[in-house]
Symmetry: C4
Subunit: 262 residues, 4 copies
Amino acid sequence: MTDSKSSLDRKECPRRALFYSFFVPLLAEFFTTFLHTFWGSMAGSPSSPTYYKQLNTTVTPQEWAADYLVSGLMPALQAGFSVWMLIVGFFKISVVHFNPAISVGFVVSGDLSWTMFVPYVIMQCLGAILGAFIAQELRGETITPFYINDDANIVAIFFCEVITTGVIMFYALVTVVDKTYDQATGPLAIGMTVFQGILAGKWIGAGCLNPARWMGPALLAGGAAWNYHWVLWLGDCLGGLIFAVFYMTFFAPADRAWILKF
Amino acid sequence: MTDSKSSLDRKECPRRALFYSFFVPLLAEFFTTFLHTFWGSMAGSPSSPTYYKQLNTTVTPQEWAADYLVSGLMPALQAGFSVWMLIVGFFKISVVHFNPAISVGFVVSGDLSWTMFVPYVIMQCLGAILGAFIAQELRGETITPFYINDDANIVAIFFCEVITTGVIMFYALVTVVDKTYDQATGPLAIGMTVFQGILAGKWIGAGCLNPARWMGPALLAGGAAWNYHWVLWLGDCLGGLIFAVFYMTFFAPADRAWILKF
Amino acid sequence: MTDSKSSLDRKECPRRALFYSFFVPLLAEFFTTFLHTFWGSMAGSPSSPTYYKQLNTTVTPQEWAADYLVSGLMPALQAGFSVWMLIVGFFKISVVHFNPAISVGFVVSGDLSWTMFVPYVIMQCLGAILGAFIAQELRGETITPFYINDDANIVAIFFCEVITTGVIMFYALVTVVDKTYDQATGPLAIGMTVFQGILAGKWIGAGCLNPARWMGPALLAGGAAWNYHWVLWLGDCLGGLIFAVFYMTFFAPADRAWILKF
Amino acid sequence: MTDSKSSLDRKECPRRALFYSFFVPLLAEFFTTFLHTFWGSMAGSPSSPTYYKQLNTTVTPQEWAADYLVSGLMPALQAGFSVWMLIVGFFKISVVHFNPAISVGFVVSGDLSWTMFVPYVIMQCLGAILGAFIAQELRGETITPFYINDDANIVAIFFCEVITTGVIMFYALVTVVDKTYDQATGPLAIGMTVFQGILAGKWIGAGCLNPARWMGPALLAGGAAWNYHWVLWLGDCLGGLIFAVFYMTFFAPADRAWILKF
């Protein structure tokens, strides 16, 4: 919803109200998740080797740095910028989530109605599938999905996802729930929680942060890409939920802080 | 046009009106495209090897990372920052396009008059030629143009250009059409659509995004630099057109959204 | 304290006043220092070799660049972004320090009461310990602390810490003391003083900048991690103190500049 | 001068007026040039090899990338961020130049009085000398100055300095002369003109952009550091002058544009 469209106008015309309450937000979810997945899938390494295990053993400084650059700094900057860009690009159009975990948190905080939750997630998944599909067709090769190896520490990945995705949620709530929030670099900070989350997850094989975005490439790649895929969905959505409760309880503005209700 | 120059002043003096309606915008197009091309041409690699094909076969992680850094991250940051900088530098002087594809989209949205379109593109091309020429003289070597190899996937490059340049257009419209748009990092986000577009195009040989900027070096290099050069013009301008239609139809402010006109 | 919570509301309810004067600021210190340490500890190199000494002798350009990337640019960007993000994320919640040296300076300037200093530092240390502990559990390896080798130039490290941490303090005061300060990128500039400080300290083995953040990993690693650890505390806190005096004397707004009091 | 100090207060007290007209601006010039030089001198490579000539011949991609990272991206980011940070840090204290070329341009535009020009440049040089000196003492080695080799293309370096330093001037004027300028990322864009200037100058050995900042290390290193040092001063100051004339003539706000005076 935008300030530039008066509530008066919408009252006058039910068709217009429907347009701005359903069509625009859902199209925005679809398009932003499409772009987020498309950009990431196009920029990703062709071979995308997973070094993190070997790097714990013997590796030259140059190999180490090469991996850190290609599988750490680059995806972290690319995805972090992407999240921020989609938020500010659609700022006057819709509060875009393009992430089921974020939608979970906004349901908790009350900023997204329960009835819109499933449509939101469906549009996110459809957008991610299209983004990965077009990237696959353009590159002429399978888009590398987010692999979880059988011998990875699943428990560590799970908890890392809970914390890092939770922090994204925390920042999203800070800028949305508090109507007085006016920090110009706030949206960039939301994006950079993804930068921090990817770097934080790198050495243990975590850093998904958005299950819909990685469901697209997984669907196209199939097979091992589905290994423990549910861990990403559960961890990320649980992170969104826990940190939304944490924020709403203690840090929300005084008129909305749960702890002050009692 | 700037807020600091009252329309009253211009009405009073036809010469001054002409100055701010024609001379300043056209000089700004020339100067910004010059700077954009000059900065890019000076920063570009002396040898600029095209690795993308070989990298799909056997390559060490270090070679891979070296190429990603030099032909990916660096140009993406350099060009992305450049676009943002030119926008904010001229914010109170003129809505600078320095890109024919963007001028196409602004004609579609109605923010640039048809009569100004050709002069804009001419000034953009002249600026790019001067930028590449001075860079060539200072460096004492030919400036590497945007090559499209005969065995590249032209169709993939074409569609990638349509999408990535279209997204730049989308962001330019978001900040210009919606007069209530007030996100401080919006112009930086426009610039970073170029960052994303260059990384997105890297592995398939796309990432031109601005046909005028690359026409300059192509004119000086000649020969193979003109191979499929029209693909860049057609793809980028078509992207600007399609995404302008897309934005104006669904996402423009309620008073300008085309779909609400019916 | 936030603008969105009227002082009226707090007056009405002592319990609420206590909540916003003690509980929220202290929880914010704990949580921000936790996140700062967690992000840094998760992103840090698994082996984290200290090259700086060898690099002064014979080293290939690639080894040099690899080290510069992994132990210079990456931590500088990661930590710099982290500081900025925590500031803007908690902007409407609390003026977060997450650094004892910054708390020292704010006591000097009068923006933190003496009685709150010790609780602040305790919460900062507890947050850092938890952040390092969780990172250690998730990674399954000891988190590399900030080592000071016996043969390092301790005096140089000390003075470097004084200056670089002092500059962080200077920027923190600029944005907090001057109520008219309205630069949108000011908080990002505070964060980037850490970027500059880490790069400045790199070649001599300095760049701690925050003794609490590094106390966490040191506590878990033990042993040599405590070598000259007091230098970090003394240097950073002294830097905070000196630069706070410097700022308050000459550069504070006219109504608070100490030199104009006489 | 700051908005927070009313002109009334200063009128009332000649001593206070003197303090804010002379002491604060000059101390700010000294301190910012000190910091700019200190940060750059501390972060610079210990050995700082000049590869640009060899790189035009045979070099592996990795060597190329290593050099681009260490002598291109890193200094460009470091110095670019530094310039932006010093501007926003002192935004409410003084319009800091910390660069003689910028002071030249501000004299041209009329924003710095002739009588203050020499004191400004002196404070800038003193700050740079102290910054380089402290860095030298802390690192225990000579700080690498900005070398111009005898076989470099001096003419190309000269013109490159004119253009790249001129663009910094252009951006400084945009944000200072036009009182309605309100782009939040404007100061960051000024800083990033240095980013672009360093990358633009890299392959031909240019990229000084600030003669005072490099006079400090040159004074300490002596000898070959003074080769063609005057080219830096002449090129940079001429760039500041030419682009100030260019901006003031065509692009300054209507009430100050020189071309509209006739």
